[in-house]
Amino acid sequence: MLSILRKARLKDKEMRVLMLGLDNAGKTTIVKQVMKEDVNTVSPTLGFIIKTIEYQGYKLNIWDVGGQKTLRSYWRNYFEKTDALIWVVDATDRFRLDDCKEELHGLLLEERLMGASLLVFVNKTDVKGCMSTDEIKEGLKLDEIVTHKWTILRCSAMTGENLDEGLEWVVTDAKERLFLY
C-alpha cells in the first residue's frame, strides 16, 4: 500500500524544497541566480515566491518565503510535504547569528519538517570579511542537530558559486530516500 504511493511519487519526479532564513540572507537572489534571472533587481520578499527548476530530470518546486520577522510566523504554512529545507545564512551578519540559530532550531522541532533534509547555504561568501564555515557551524550549533540529515555549503548568490552543488546534494539525498524501499 505505502509502496504503491511511494512509487507514484517517484514517477512524479517532483520535489518540494523550502527555502528559509532570516531576512536579508539572500534567498530570493539565490533562486534568481539559479534561474539565470537578473540578480540586481531583487527587492525584499513580501510574502513568498514559488519557482520550478528542472534539475537532473527532476522538478524542484522551490518555495522562497520572506524572512522578515512579521513573516516568520507564516513559515509554518509551508511545511507540509517538504523534501528538503534550505536554510540560508548571511555570512556577513555576525550580529544576528544568534537569532539565526534560534530560528533554525525552532524549525527543526517542527514535526511536519521531520522528514526533510537540511542544507545550510552560507551565502555572500564573495564578500570579504565574511564568517568562516567553522564560525557558522558553531554559531548555529549545527553539530547539535541530530534529528535531521544536514550539510553545510558556502555559496554566493551573486557569483553563482556552489549553487548547483547545493541542488545536487538536495536531489541526491531525496533520491536516496525514495529508493530506500
Partner: protein
C-alpha cells in the same frame, strides 16, 4: 493439513486488499514500520560504532519517508488519526535523538578545528581527546564563542558614543562591512573627501542598531543596509537594499535600487538623497537624474519612495507608518553644505536643525 490453511490466508488477504478500508491498510503498514524502526533504534546501543552512523542515517530517512506517507494519506485519514500518527513519528524521532545522545561522545571533534586553536600537537584527531571531560571543553570554548564580537579587520565598527562628531574610516580591500551601534546625539560624516585614496572601493554591507537623536551621513553602500531601533534620527544613505526595523521618527534621505522595506516602524519620512552626499564622497554613479523621484530610470533605478511596509499590506490605503517628506520639510542642499563644512561645531547645534523631532 498445513497447506490449505495457508491458501485460505492468501485468499483472505487478496480479498482484504480489495475491500479493506485504506485507513486500516495504512494503519497496518504504518504500525509495522514504526515498530521496526523502534527496534532498530533500540538495537543501536548494541550495534557496532562503525555501523551506527549508517543505520542512523537509514532511520532518519525512513522517518522522513513515513512523514511523507502520512502527508499523502491526509486525503482519507481522519484528522485525529493523522495527529496520532504524527505524534508517533515525533516520538520516534525523539527516541532516536535520545539514543544518539546516549551513545558516542560525539561532540569530541566539534570545536577543535577552529583556526585560532590550531597548534601542531593538540589538534591531531587521535584518541586522547575523548578523555577530556565535557566541562573542560565547554570552558575552553567560552572565550572563542563570543560571536557578537566582529572581526576588527573586516568590519569598521563605530559604537557607544554620545554627543560626538564622528567620521567613518574609508573602506579598503579587507574592510567591507560598516557597523554602527549605540550612538546618541552624534553626527556621523563620511571619511574625508579624498576619493583617490579609496579608489572604487565601497562598503558592501551596512548594519545599524540602536541610534537615537543622531545625524548619520553614510558613505555609499554597495549591498544591503539593515537598520534596527532608530529613534529621532536623520540618515542619508545610498544602498542596494534597504531594511528598516523597529524604528520611529526617522527621516531617511535615500537612494535605493530595490524596493525599501520597513517593519514595526512609525513616523518614517523619506526623501531622495540630496546632492550634498555626492559632494561628500557619497557618489554613486554621480548622476542625479532621478532626483525628482522618477523610478523609471533603466540604468540606475531609484526606488526611494516605493516603500513596502510589512505591517500594512492593504493596497487601497497608504500605510500610516511612513510618508514622503514635503518639499518644505526637506532640508535643502545649501543647508547640508553649511552643516558639513562646520562639523567641528557642537553636535547639538546642528542636530537641532536636522532631526525629525525638531521639525515635526
Amino acid at each position: 493439513m498445513d497447506e490449505p490453511v495457508a491458501e485460505e490466508e492468501v485468499v483472505e488477504e487478496g480479498v482484504a486488499e480489495k475491500e479493506e478500508d485504506p485507513r486500516q491498510l495504512f494503519h497496518k503498514s504504518f504500525t509495522a514500520e514504526t515498530k521496526g524502526l523502534t527496534d532498530t533504534i533500540t538495537s543501536l546501543a548494541t550495534s557496532r560504532a562503525s555501523e551506527r552512523q549508517a543505520s542512523i542515517d537509514n532511520i532518519l530517512s525512513k522517518i522522513g519517508v513515513l512523514t511523507h506517507d502520512l502527508g499523502d494519506a491526509s486525503t482519507y485519514l481522519p484528522a485525529y488519526d493523522q495527529r496520532v500518527y504524527s505524534e508517533q513519528l515525533k516520538s520516534l524521532s525523539d527516541q532516536l535523538s535520545n539514543a544518539r545522545k546516549a551513545l558516542a561522545p560525539r561532540q569530541k571533534f566539534s570545536f577543535k578545528n577552529r583556526g585560532s586553536s590550531r597548534t601542531s600537537g593538540t589538534d591531531s584527531p587521535t584518541p586522547p581527546l575523548p578523555a577530556v571531560p565535557a566541562e573542560q571543553l565547554q570552558a575552553s570554548l567560552q572565550p572563542l564563542s563570543s560571536k557578537s564580537q566582529p572581526d576588527p579587520k573586516t568590519t569598521s565598527t563605530i559604537t557607544s558614543h554620545e554627543n560626538t562628531n564622528l567620521q567613518t574610516s574609508p573602506p579598503n580591500q579587507t574592510t567591507t562591512i560598516l557597523s554602527l551601534s549605540n550612538l546618541k546625539s552624534c553626527i556621523l560624516t563620511p571619511h574625508n573627501n579624498d576619493k583617490s585614496a579609496t579608489g572604487d572601493t565601497n562598503y558592501t554591507t551596512l548594519s545599524v542598531t540602536s541610534i537615537s537623536s543622531s545625524l548619520l551621513i553614510i558613505p555609499p553602500i554597495q549591498g544591503p543596509a539593515h537598520l534596527t531601533s532608530l529613534q529621532n534620527t536623520t540618515i542619508l544613505l545610498s544602498c542596494h537594499q534597504f531594511r528598516l526595523h523597529s524604528s520611529h521618527n526617522v527621516d531617511v534621505y535615500l537612494k535605493c535600487r530595490s524596493r525599501p522595506i520597513i517593519e514595526n516602524c512609525k513616523g518614517i519620512r523619506v526623501s531622495f538623497l540630496p546632492d550634498i552626499s555626492n559632494k561628500s564622497a557619497a557618489t554613486e554613479g554621480g548622476g542625479n537624474s532621478n532626483v525628482e523621484g522618477k523610478a523609471d530610470g533603466k540604468e540606475e533605478s531609484d526606488m526611494w519612495n516605493q516603500i513596502d511596509d510589512f505591517n500594512w499590506l492593504k493596497v487601497d490605503k497608504p500605510s500610516p507608518n511612513w510618508r514622503c517628506l514635503r518639499d518644505d520639510e526637506r532640508i535643502l542642499d545649501d543647508v547640508w553644505d553649511t552643516l558639513l563644512t562646520t562639523t567641528t561645531a557642537n553636535p547639538t547645534d546642528i542636530l537641532d536643525k536636522v532631526l525629525p523631532s525638531n521639525s515635526v
